[in-house]
């Protein structure tokens, strides 16, 4: 077996390893975000007043988590493609301060939609392959 063959096999193994790691990481991150959004949705479901410290902290926690994940996801996807979720989270903080429940719920739905969309874009699906 020549040297070049060994190099290519090493590269191939690294590539496959990186692909598996990427999928696991993306799934983990987006599942976490989705879970947090579901919890938040459940929490505000029947609420008419969202202007509370607890709510603000929950949104800040979601935003911080996303920022942490986004930093890593930026190594893998176009930064512009995943910027929208962060924008929506910033808006949500304002909606809490302004006590705008309708917009807050709409933003939550939007964040969920983005997270699912990213999952779809970054995942290995037939639509992405072809």
């Amino acid at each position: 077996m020549n040297k070049k063959f060994i190099y290519v096999i090493i590269i191939l193994v690294i590539l496959i390893g990186a692909c598996v790691w990427e999928q696991v990481m993306v799934n983990n991150y987006l599942s976490n975000i989705k879970e947090k959004v579901y919890n938040l949705t459940e929490f505000v479901k029947d609420k008419t007043d969202i202007n509370s410290k607890q709510m603000y902290d929950l949104v800040v926690d979601l935003d911080d988590t996303w920022e942490r994940y986004e930093e890593k996801l930026c190594f893998l996807v176009n930064h512009k493609e995943i910027a929208d979720l962060g924008v929506e989270l910033t808006k949500m903080k304002i909606y809490v301060v302004e006590n705008n429940v309708t917009e807050f719920k709409a933003s939550l739905a939007q964040v969920l939609y983005y997270a699912e969309g990213y999952e779809h874009v970054m995942g290995i699906t037939l639509q992405n392959l072809l």
Binding site: K4, F5, Y7, V8, I11, L12, L15, A18, C74, F75, L76, V77, N78, H79, K80
Partner: protein, 239 residues
């Protein structure tokens, strides 16, 4: 801007590695799919180099994937003639002793003018001079002339000459080639003596110095004409 500089450097180094892994073929020697691959690599490299919102990995992964696929394609085409033929095609005879093979010309989609151009590149200006012309898989045309038009070589004239040998470079642009010293069996002292005999002040002033098996030394000082020196050399001792 620093980001762009760093990105460009990374991509440059990667493309360098990619081309080293792909081999040293020149454009004219490439198979058609290799040429396409080279163009694709060039295109892939430019996107993450200039677009900072695109992760560099978007350029790196496709580049590496192409190298891996190319390697396996080449590997299997070497292992199996059928795979090789499928990927590279096979050489086609476009001229034979009966003249131009029109069927082959049509198959290759080349005109008589293209054929003329190809045989002129091979050094023949008349179709009459050509016995065989073969279109190789990389698109070059190789010509076998008719005996009457083939150039005379030493063998035809029964001239026996000593086999030519490859000279070893001892000094290149003022640098002593230590690896070549080992090959030639010479010592640093020998090179210094050669330089001294050539009346060159120091090693740094030498543009190039080579020695062949028969002891012929070609030495040239920077901005000066070259000199030929003759030594008794038996692959180790220089006198």
């Amino acid at each position: 801007m620093l980001t762009l500089i760093i990105r460009a450097t990374i991509i440059y180094l990667l493309v360098l590695v990619v081309f080293r892994l792909m081999g040293k073929r020149q454009i004219g020697q490439m198979q058609p799919f290799e040429l396409v691959l080279t163009l694709v690599i060039a295109d892939l490299a430019t996107i993450p180099m200039t677009e900072t919102s695109v992760p560099i990995i978007h350029g790196v992964v496709p580049l590496i994937t192409l190298v891996v696929v190319h390697f396996f394609l080449t590997f299997f085409s070497k292992k199996s003639n059928k795979v090789g033929e499928f990927i590279n095609g096979k050489p086609i005879v476009i001229m034979n002793p009966n003249g131009v093979d029109y069927k082959s010309l049509k198959e290759l989609d080349i005109t008589i003018d293209d054929l003329f151009e190809a045989i002129r590149s091979a050094g023949y200006f008349s179709l009459e001079e050509v016995q065989y012309a073969i279109m190789e898989t990389n698109g070059t045309v190789n010509v076998l002339p008719k005996s009457a038009f083939s150039p005379v070589v030493n063998k035809d004239l029964n001239i026996h000459l000593e086999e030519s040998n490859l000279p070893v470079t001892l000094v290149s642009e003022g640098n002593l080639m230590k690896e070549n010293l080992l090959i030639s069996g010479l010592k640093e002292e020998d090179v210094k003596n050669i330089i001294k005999n050539a009346k060159i002040k120091s090693l740094k002033d030498v543009l190039v110095a080579t020695i062949d098996k028969t002891g012929n030394v070609y030495i040239q000082e920077k901005n000066k004409p070259f000199q030929m020196l003759k030594y008794q050399y038996n692959g180790g001792n220089l006198t």
